[in-house]
């Protein structure tokens, strides 16, 4: 009986080792480079072996793990929430850009630039406790649909990247998000969507305040920005929250450049990866001229720096997790 059990166990292990960890990636150079890197750093006999505590993998979110068109999904949430808030109290729309946002006037919002976007996010994301806010985001994520694709937003996560996250965790990596998106917004859905727990979310953060409200100790979301996790903010955020240099780094825009530059400059092995949006048929094709997810330096310098450019059209058999194409 014991002998028989032994055979069963071996068969199961052999089966799992032979299975393709990245079934939605086309066989070819891109996929091979990922698997070769992971096999190398997890092989105790390799010069590039990395012990599990130092197997840190970081990923941008918008445009890297899910879509970001026509604008960041968090902005679409902000507009919906602003409309609801204004229905209860129209006086919160204290500026032209807030009025345009609540009316869904995207042209006017887009023209307001970064300053206008920050105002929209600050007003729409404050005034609730953290648990209330996250419950509101969770409800929105559950019910809202993308304006042109009509898919739930969590169905617009990238199936190949979900497989990559799981593959890395299976190989002893700790996976983190390092996103310009807000920490409280992301924490409402990333564990279910990506298997990334709340403590592994690094992101932009609004100001918060601790207060005992009617006897209940509460953390309240205030207006105002505490940290912007973009560009040079990304290595700074990683240093502040993790305190280690990641060895696997995924991004898609020049907002990820400094994170890739810093993390791939260490002495040890590292793999930097840029998701290049080349697929205008299944998703959107954009890079140098896009307002959202602009990619110029990353495209120009990826080869020289040894970063892996992922060609979505060529390298991915399938794009979204919740759609068949």
């Amino acid at each position: 009986m014991r002998y028989f059990l032994g055979i069963v166990v071996l068969a199961v292990f052999a089966g799992s080792a032979a299975a393709d960890p990245l079934p939605s990636w086309q066989d070819g150079e891109t996929k091979s480079r990922i698997i070769d890197f992971v096999s190398d750093v997890t092989n105790p006999g390799s010069d590039n072996y990395v012990t599990p505590p130092d197997r840190i993998a970081v990923f941008d979110n918008d445009g890297t793990l899910w879509s970001e068109k026509p604008v960041y999904f968090q902005l679409l949430y902000a507009l919906d929430r602003l409309e609801e808030m204004a229905a209860k109290d129209p006086t919160i729309l204290s500026s032209d850009v807030l009025k345009a946002a609540a009316a869904g006037d995207m042209d006017r919002v887009a023209k307001s630039g970064e300053e206008g976007l920050l105002e929209i996010v600050m007003v729409s994301h404050s005034g609730l406790s953290v648990p209330e806010f996250q419950a509101d985001v969770a409800r929105w994520i559950e019910t809202a649909r993308h304006p042109t694709k009509n898919l739930a937003y969590t169905d617009m996560t990238y199936q190949p990247m979900l497989e990559l996250l799981r593959y890395l965790r299976d190989e002893g990596f700790e996976t983190y998000l390092v996103s310009g998106g807000g920490i409280h917004f992301m924490r409402a859905f990333v564990e279910a969507a990506y298997g990334v727990p709340p403590e592994n979310v690094i992101g932009s953060a609004g100001k918060t305040r601790y207060e005992v409200v009617d006897g209940v100790p509460t953390i309240l979301k205030d207006p105002g920005i505490a940290f912007i996790d973009d560009k040079a903010g990304k290595p700074i955020g990683i240093d502040s929250k993790i305190g280690k240099r990641p060895i696997f780094i995924g991004g898609n825009s020049d907002g990820d450049f400094e994170m890739l530059e810093w993390a791939t400059a260490g002495d040890g092995p590292s793999l930097g990866l840029i998701v290049h949006h080349t697929d205008g048929e299944r998703e959107w094709a954009y890079d140098r001229d896009s307002h959202v997810g602009k990619l110029v330096r990353g495209l120009d310098e990826a080869d020289a720096r040894g970063w892996l450019l992922v060609d979505m059209a060529e390298d991915w058999k399938r794009v979204w997790s919740g759609s068949s194409n």
Copy 2:
């Protein structure tokens, strides 16, 4: 042979289950409350069962996991470093308090208040890259000795608390530091001293800057404070970095009050613990009137709030990890 191996394995497990996880704690109510709490929340049959991902334990550092007299050890490091910096470049001593600090005039430093201390920390902790700074702290921790006890600082960590950290981790808890001390300072030694990895360190933080210096991507420590992890800053820091409410909370001063208040106010089970410095013979006895580690509200309200007051003189068989008493 297989049968024989089975017996050996069982014997080892039985032995480890019967062993006392907290041998340096006196048997009695304090120790029982800790063990009862941990047994309860890790028992799948209990109404208070908590799944491993939510077994979050947080600990203050100064006065909770190691001593803090005559002043926070980080300040002693700052004074030593300031003296070294001034020997190379006396012009950095641009104020009276900096001059007093470099000369080791503790009275004058103490009288400068919080503003003076911040100035000392900011000047002494900036101008290096993060890895350079951490290497300097590691060298100091290795070589420096306490001014009156003549012990290495890491020998002044509390043996009973080291056992508690290990016990919690053995029972599936994730252990974090939540300290007013600086993140880069603590990361230089806490993994070796406490088994707490860099990513589980929450603390105060100076400003940092990302820059490519002579072709090398570098994170530099700047003067200026980015975050003070004390009082209401502690629940805010925990929310920002972990995003979960801890269920085991250890502190020793009123700087930990809000963290204890917030974390023990949840619906689920929680245990708040305050290390009370009652042992003037083996360590130092202080609470209400101490400049460092002042404890007033915590002492007055612990009973009513159900927090466990640890009486160092009564509850601990031994105090320091690197000393026999």
